[in-house]
Point group: C2
Chain length 290, copies 2
């Protein structure tokens, strides 16, 4: 279990309990429990404020940008013309912030199950919660499963920004969830979900991809660096039914001017493609069995 000892937060990853990050706590700002999970926020000297849910670091102000930019612009730019976007989860507001930057996006719906995370982010992570101010956004506090059952054939891109598959996010990694995503998507839409870390959960990632492949014809896995996540990185499951779409290539290519204007710190068109070049042991393990 993660804990604070002598002013140091020692994270314990459930999938690899013998290894994790430690980060010096300046001050505990909030220790609370929502209807769904334990919520902890603390400040640090070098990493800004840190949000922890059920013992797992969700984001630090220091490095949140890499995850937010990549889970957003990989699917949006692979799609090429993302006008209407659904965000499932993402209660800190960071993904909404990035999606709302995209010049082609006209309408964003976000469904987050836990009001507490939204409130906490508004208070302690204002740079991320800024995403909630976008005039393009409709924010709903409800269950993503229930919402999608009533909204079919509606979205160009659906991003699932969840915590790991323990606790409230457990259902967002199952085959039946991918079936729901497919129905809520327009034909040839693109999905992107948080997808775990190859260094400790390769079997789990393989199982998730296999579930996804039952509903989408074109399924890939990509990665990005996040120093304060276990093993220093995180992956994404990205999929579409459009077999002609090369997910590893940005179809909408940001110009240098756009990269500047959108204040992108991690994503570039080259980083997009590079994210899909998997280490050989990962590439071998995740090969489609078909």
């Amino acid at each position: 279990m993660s804990k604070i000892v002598d002013g140091v937060f020692l994270e314990s990853c459930p999938n690899l309990p013998s290894f994790g990050n430690n980060i010096q706590v300046e001050k505990v700002l909030l220790e609370s429990k929502s209807d769904y999970q334990n919520v902890l926020v603390f400040s640090t000297k070098k990493h800004g404020n840190v949000l922890v849910l059920d013992g797992a670091i969700q984001c630090t102000e220091f490095d949140e940008f890499s995850y937010q930019e990549m889970i957003t612009f990989l699917p949006l730019n692979a799609h090429g013309n993302p006008q209407k976007v659904l965000i499932v989860g993402g209660g800190d507001g960071g993904v909404a912030r990035e999606v709302s930057k995209h010049p082609l996006v006209k309408e964003i719906v976000q469904v987050e199950i836990d009001q507490k995370v939204i409130d906490v982010s508004k208070k302690y992570l204002p740079g991320m919660a800024a995403g909630f101010d976008s005039p393009k956004l409709t924010l709903l506090v409800c269950d993503g499963f229930e919402y999608m059952k009533n909204h079919q054939n509606e979205f160009d891109v659906i991003i699932t920004d969840s915590s790991d598959p323990v606790g409230p996010a457990e259902n967002l990694f199952t085959e039946s969830y991918f079936a729901l995503l497919k129905k809520a998507l327009k034909p040839n839409g693109v999905i992107c979900s948080q997808g775990g870390t190859v260094w400790c959960c390769l079997d789990y990632i393989k199982k998730t991809l296999d579930g996804c492949r039952k509903h989408f014809k074109n399924v890939e896995y990509a990665r990005c660096s996040v120093p304060t996540y276990p093993n220093g990185e995180i992956g994404f499951v990205i999929a579409t039914d459009d077999q002609s779409l090369q997910l590893s290539k940005a179809k909408y290519v940001f110009t240098e001017k756009e990269l500047d204007e959108l204040r992108l710190k991690y994503y570039t068109p080259e980083v997009h493609t590079a994210a899909f070049a998997l280490p050989n042991f990962v590439r071998q393990a995740l090969k489609s069995s078909s």
Copy 2:
């Protein structure tokens, strides 16, 4: 300072002391001091044996392959015809193991300053020390600076596998070191050096690259994942005087058969190219001032 507390090794990175890895220790196998540095080896349940020099994890049996393969095959395959290779440092034997795999390499010279590291690796990291058994290798225990002064215009590739720029490796990051490398290289040879981590040492990396650019016309920076290094990754400075050489593209391209036969777990030709796609904040910071 790094320390073992209640059976957990808490690493403290000198550049970012408020953040680091923690890893459960199964058994301390060696705690010693060489003429140059403090040496610690411990076993773990999930990461195999771990070598620590002056408080910094140098390698774990779990994930050493990514660093060894990348610091080796980036320069060897960018060069295209690496027949004679010099390794400076690399006392654990892992780089020698990888270099000796390359089908074009005929002769390897390795200069390591600390006999103790070689002995410790032979005893506790046999999978890495296996590199010392290569019939292609001449292993010398001496100072890399001194060796290169007497060997000019001799090597196709020089790999500097050092610890961080504190302690015995301090001199391997200076401009004068790059001047020495250039003289020891054949014209159009390629160098590759351990190059720090962008998440905590970007200013330092910029300074190192600027020093390198004073002696080489074509200088790049690349990265790979190493979960047990601070921030989960490490970078490489890679350079040549051959302006026509595209360092980010493998000139010698491993076939699928070779990837299998050489038992490569991380490196592929696609991973080679992807390693040079830098996050936007890094790309901006490291731009050549010229």
